[in-house]
Amino acid sequence: MSARIAQASLFAVALLIGILLVAQLRSQARPTEISSLPAQELSQLIDTLGERNLELRTGLADLRETLREYRVSGSQGQSALEVSREDLRRITAFGGLAAVEGQGLVLDVEGHLDAIALNDLINELRNAAAEAIAVDGIRITHASVAVQGPTSLVIDGVEVGTAFTISAIGDPDGLLNAMERPGGIIAQLEQFIQATIVARQSDAISVPATEIDLQPATAGTAG
């Protein structure tokens, strides 16, 4: 009898441990992490998430429009062909396989930027929603990074001098504000690296297609 009571007690204890452990793990999960962030950081997160969600909503609307066009075209071969052509234009422009024109921002850079600084500039432009970027006519693709070569910086095998131009297509105001904000990337680089970076908006920027073959040699379509 006493053994049964002991077993029942142990079962109850184990159950209690389980419940407490689950509660503890839940309390350590994401909500607590978020709640522990300072209000300023939470506000930044809200702004950034709001912007990204707006981009996603716009992208979703465009995709649904493409689907609608395909459905409307139905058996009409020529219409389906045109929708596919438009999709190919979109994808090749997005990935750097096609040249792009449009409004945006031009950065005239002069000075001794190292590879990290140049990659940071490119990253900042991407974060500010630049749609197409080129450094001295070298199209920046997903795999383009600046590295230190024997005598100068190199992107995609092409040397970049100490004076160069970065062209970025996108919202001119959004790009300019992101680059020139107090404490932003330009302010940081000019403070820590001997360089001058002049930003100017432009209505007519041309960004060429990449000269690199982006077809993977090792990676294949999954599935």
Binding site: T32, S35, Q103, A132, H142, A219
Partner: protein, 254 residues
Amino acid sequence: MNLGAVRRPRSSPRATWAFTIAAALGVIGFVGAAQWNSSVERQAFTSSAQQVLAGQVLQLEEEQQQLRADIADAEAEVQRIQEESTSSSATLAALNAQLERARLAVGLTAVSGPGVVVEISDSNRVVPPGENPSSYIVLVDDLRDIVTALWASGAEAITIDGERLVASSSIYGVGASVLVNTSFLSPPFRIEAIGGDGLLDRFQSHAAFTGRVAQRIEFFGLEFAVAPSDRLELPAFVGTARFRWGVPVTEVTP
């Protein structure tokens, strides 16, 4: 030696029970105390304006999950229609083959192949008095350096925690949080890269890796592991692949 022949002294059943229950009570005490502590923190949090802000963050993240799922569904539907229409005409078939190749080249298709897996997380060391605690956590620069070294070493496709890197991808720090594409990520970070033979060696010896992040791993004890993999499967990019400001200038043939 015949281990089976060795007899261990047996403790009495009562002593065993007592030990078991004492251990269980000890665990309850520990977990209960931890739970109580975190409950106190949460209580404190609920009384501040942060509750409202944190709730908004979670709501936006939920909304984003839904949007990404909807985009993935719509992309899949577009591709299905294009694949089905290949039999319509030779011209359309050629165009859709071009589309497939373009998607593969720019990161809009899930890919598989051999490669490298890198994992990095915050240091487990106790921060010495007077030192900056942020030195002991993974910074956005660490992830950028790793990714730069992988691309420069010949990686063909990279993901960070499943986020596929494409031409528009940025790796961005918002306070202590890391934003990749549209997703906020937290450590441990898992970076997967597909690439040809020698990717691991080239990565580990590349200046973009050895110059800064490798030193931080050593000095501050960031948790780090890297290993080759025979087969990785990386998802396609999920997000917006459309331009608002840019217009393609090349004509598409056929």
